[in-house]
Symmetry: C2
């Protein structure tokens, strides 16, 4: 890992073209050759970058300024960095990273809801998780007290896309005489207004689920701090 702080100008040409006027920035060159140009604000996204696999070639422009040309290996994407004034330049041996362990995403929410289907509606019972259809798996297939099938789509954030997805499943499942009629439930920690409206128009019920309550907010073993 090489860290450079420099007054620089950057140009990118690839899927789009982009230009950064001269200013002082941090340039990160990773062991795999990838390059990140960061400013002192914004969030984790660099102003400009080149993803691996790529190669860095150091050269000198016509006016004598040091210039890096970073070229992608598979496409003709190119990043050109003019280093007008280098304020810091250091290299560091980092080694291979053991990587990140995650917990708490949609899969976990699905597991919890599968075990607590009544959260979605009184009397609902689970038939199976990941019920397969021709166009993909439905998160939960349930039956209500009347024995009718209920397809459940689970999202962390209930967006319009999720409603469309569930609509496609329902359309398909309702062609199956063995299942018909199938109604839909759209379950999420948060449901966007537009998604709610579309769901209503499609006769799909919306349920907002409380992840922390399901997980058991009082269980101290699940809290890090």
């Amino acid at each position: 890992m090489r860290l450079v702080v420099a007054r620089c100008q950057v140009d990118y040409a690839g899927r789009l073209t982009a230009h950064l006027p001269p200013a002082t920035r941090v340039i990160m060159v990773k062991a795999d050759g990838s390059v990140l140009v960061h400013s002192d604000g914004g969030s984790y996204k660099p102003l400009n970058w080149m993803s691996p696999p790529c190669t860095l070639r150091e050269g000198v422009a016509d006016d004598g300024v040091v210039e890096w040309t970073v070229s992608a290996a598979k496409s003709d994407d190119t990043l050109r960095i003019r280093l007008e004034e280098v304020l810091h330049d250091s290299a560091h041996e980092l080694g291979v990273d053991p990587g990140l362990r995650k917990d708490g995403v949609e899969k976990h929410l699905q597991e919890l809801l599968a075990e607590h289907t009544t959260t979605l509606g009184a009397g609902l019972t689970l038939v199976r998780r990941e019920h397969m259809t021709a166009i993909g798996p439905v998160d939960l297939l349930c039956r209500d007290t009347g024995g009718a099938a209920v397809a459940v789509e689970i999202k962390r954030r209930g967006d319009i896309d999720g409603v469309e997805q569930l609509t496609r499943y329902l359309e398909l499942m309702n062609r199956d005489p063995a299942l018909r009629p199938v109604r839909g439930i759209f379950a999420a920690q948060e449901i966007k207004p537009q998604a709610r409206v579309l769901a209503g128009d499609r006769g799909i019920e919306c349920v907002v689920v409380d992840y922390d309550a399901l997980r058991g907010i009082d269980d101290p073993s699940l809290r890090l701090f």
Copy 2:
């Protein structure tokens, strides 16, 4: 901007929980308090991070190890970094960045296609760009040689979402007696097979557009290098 290279352990708790075992990494602390933890590989996304607005508090753990606690201002997201061994620590004044200029995204593609509607189909003429409907603007509204309305949805990458979007517009527009019948064209630089199949099923025509050809690939003033 502060740059720290250190053997560290990181824990995040917020919308999910995540853990990084001890290893040497680069930690970037930006002027706005945001923190990025980078390894020596991967792409531009940090292993862990905290977005602004947030505050960094430096403390010492029970075992004497220096520990940073970064807390988000608006949520209770927390990032905890145990600095087991600091190999490098430097601070740099960067100043405000003038920002990025971009060119070549969807809007530009839409401008180009608006001026060259025949690329989408022989005899097509433009009625207007950004034709407003109750659920949002249709990229292009055209008429064909027979005078029938044609709604065009433009994407850089033609995905299933875009087909769904156009479908919603068409459904709505076909309820309008003044426009009916309206057919659809899905235009993109690249169209995914699944999107193509769905479009076919909906009676929507797919057109792959060559951005470079439209822009005029031979115009040297548009080439950076």
